[in-house]
Symmetry: C2
Subunit: 402 residues, 2 copies
């Protein structure tokens, strides 16, 4: 393989080879590593702002709208403050810890939505004490217990339209469907929820739903069907001012995926909600964070076992759980293209578990050597935020590039 002129599927202006050297956020990955070593996450702050900007541009076609970045995707403090400074974008949080963290990074109550489940009384008191946080209640129990601490609060209700959506129909990424899930309030209990809210003088101004993660273009017709199913709920809410569509906008994970067409996505939304005087809210996490981050590890073991060529690296599934536990494709990339033939290898981590496999039977340059760095793209979302110190192999630096 010669250093390629033809771009690979994941290459873009801020993540591409230049004369065979991988550049990310305007810097060569090799140079970046001189400062940090490995394992290291790098986040491109500009890319995050561009992703938000692209969303705003599309949503502008709707008129009034709000974006709340779901920080559960990546809550690295410098990332949050960078978004606060650089974009018109709030944050969605899902726990007291995340709420206080959002405050600590510079966000104000009126820039924060709170969408959680199995909430404690202490959590509800915190929300009562911060009435300007947009609280989406996802159960009758939440509404009933919130009334212990306040009344006349504006609230949202998370509903469950009993339909789910997920990347490549991945069941672990669907939040709804035939099987009843813990999320939101179903039709069967919705009237009770509205009555309960009224009894406690809460003003229901928002309907919220989030039915899955990672949808792309070929799922937009399903997305439309889901929106269709939400009208039943919306029509019952007299003070409705906001519809929060949740997150779930996907990014390409491998060569078979295409970028989500935001204009087509907005057309779907528009066809359902235009002319209703409703502000549309969205809560993307991955769409903003995932393709803005890379994880760089170092190859320490190159060895044939039986007939399989293994490439062992200095980080395992505890640093980025999605390939192992969610079955999401994960693309390994070399920082320096080599003039070499390709061969299939199995890339494994350093955790003592059989499922600690980054990539099985993947075509890589034949001359990968012990000591070479190895880059995993799409590591900006649901990687560091879910990482563990399993086997005490949790040491990794996080680095914002601005």
């Amino acid at each position: 393989m010669k250093p390629q002129n033809k771009r690979l599927w994941w290459e873009r202006q801020d993540l591409c080879y230049q004369d065979g050297t991988l550049f990310f956020a305007g810097k060569s990955v090799t140079d970046l590593l001189r400062t940090t070593g490995t394992p290291a996450f790098f986040y491109n702050g500009k890319r995050m702002l561009q992703n938000i900007g692209r969303l705003h541009k599309a949503l502008d076609q709707l008129g009034a709208h709000k974006i709340f970045y779901a920080i559960k995707a990546n809550r690295f403090a410098p990332v949050l403050t960078h978004i606060k400074n650089g974009a018109t974008c709030g944050v969605d949080v899902c726990s007291p810890g995340e709420l206080l963290h959002a405050f600590s990074c510079g966000f104000s109550c009126n820039e924060i939505s709170y969408t959680a489940n199995s909430m404690t009384d202490a959590e509800l008191k915190l929300l009562a004490d911060n009435p300007d946080v947009a609280l989406n209640c996802d159960s009758l129990s939440t509404i009933r217990r919130l009334a212990k601490f306040c009344s006349h609060r504006r609230i949202g209700i998370r509903v469950n339209p009993a339909m789910g959506i997920g990347y490549r129909d991945n069941e672990t990424l669907k939040y709804s469907g035939d099987k009843t899930t813990k999320f939101g309030i179903y039709r069967e209990q919705f009237d009770d929820a509205l009555q309960l809210a009224e009894k406690h003088n809460f003003i229901v101004d928002t309907i919220h739903f989030h039915t899955g993660c990672g949808y792309l273009n070929n799922q937009l017709s399903l997305f439309s069907e889901i929106l269709d199913a939400t009208h039943w709920f919306l029509d019952k809410v007299k003070d409705l001012a906001f519809v929060n569509l949740g997150g779930g906008l996907g990014v390409p994970h491998d060569i078979d995926d295409k970028q989500l067409d935001l204009d087509a996505w907005v057309s779907v939304i528009n066809s359902h909600f235009s002319g209703k005087g409703i502000t549309i809210c969205v809560e993307p996490g991955d769409y903003i964070a995932k393709d803005s981050g890379i994880l760089v590890l170092e190859v320490n073991t190159v060895e044939k076992k039986r007939n399989t060529d293994f490439v062992g690296v200095n980080g395992g599934f505890n640093l980025a759980i999605e390939p192992t536990f969610y079955g999401l494709p994960c693309e390994p990339v070399v920082p320096t293209q080599k003039i070499d033939k390709m061969k299939p290898v199995t890339i494994v981590g350093n955790i003592n578990e059989s499922l600690d496999v980054w990539k099985d039977n993947f075509s890589m340059p034949d001359q990968i050597e012990e000591g070479d760095p190895l880059v995993f793209i799409n590591a900006g979302g649901y990687a560091s935020s879910m990482m563990s110190n399993h086997c005490m192999r949790g040491q990794v630096s996080e680095n914002l590039l601005v």
Copy 2:
């Protein structure tokens, strides 16, 4: 249901109901919670020592033997020091972090085995600097690179007998089998490994293998077949002094499981290795830790959604990953038995993911209320040691009871 006289399948002397109140380690769980609140892990130090004692008693039939507790199961520092003080038991570690942690908890080099994969050069230098740690090399690369930092070191070789074993044939718990894994050195490369060791003047005194986790009685015949497959390796090692069988001894997870019969287990080992002058080593993790721990959460949401009765608690799969990602059965238990009829419920956590389900369609007392504690047994192993701060819901106390 009346408070029961008949014991439930998991009840034992240190974990049982007394007049309808759950006692653990001699204390009522309700009393324990007065100090700690929830979420909280409790570990019964005595039970851990008893588990080690039971292993020793069985292994005494073999003569010389060593137990290395695999701390990746539970590395809570008070637990490690308690084991150091109370048992004749070393520890098995799998990373530099774990090695230094074992030192910090009181263990000496000669009480530690080190069994890792995808090791870095820095890691190998650390092992060169601590020659009395029993290092099990699981690749030719490890042996070759260790020679950069030392020679004449005693080493073990982890071999892969190409057969796997796991709780109820669970694939995620098998470390070997038809598919080639990253673990150990296969027959195809074993002669090269021995030659490499000899070239660098390493003395191979140990053969190590570990082929899976959670095996119980009905898998002992498979265990015997695996031991059978290891003789091919043992016969080639001239300075062999130790055979390390790894860990993998299981504990019952539900009513269908029986306690592992240690005498039967030792008989299998004896039939393979007796009279060879070999010291048998084992590295159990779960067998020592798992049934010694409980996780106590609090119910905050009891609510019907569509036709499903949900019980929501203040902790999710990030605190104990096995039910969600390894499909291991997880038994919820009430601290106070209620005179009540039973009904099926779905117990869910507080993480914003659809797979955050503790137990689906499980029969529980009808009168479970918001505010009730809920106990999960078998939470002593691979729970806190793998936990994450996903959604910033990682707050949990750990408490050793002695």
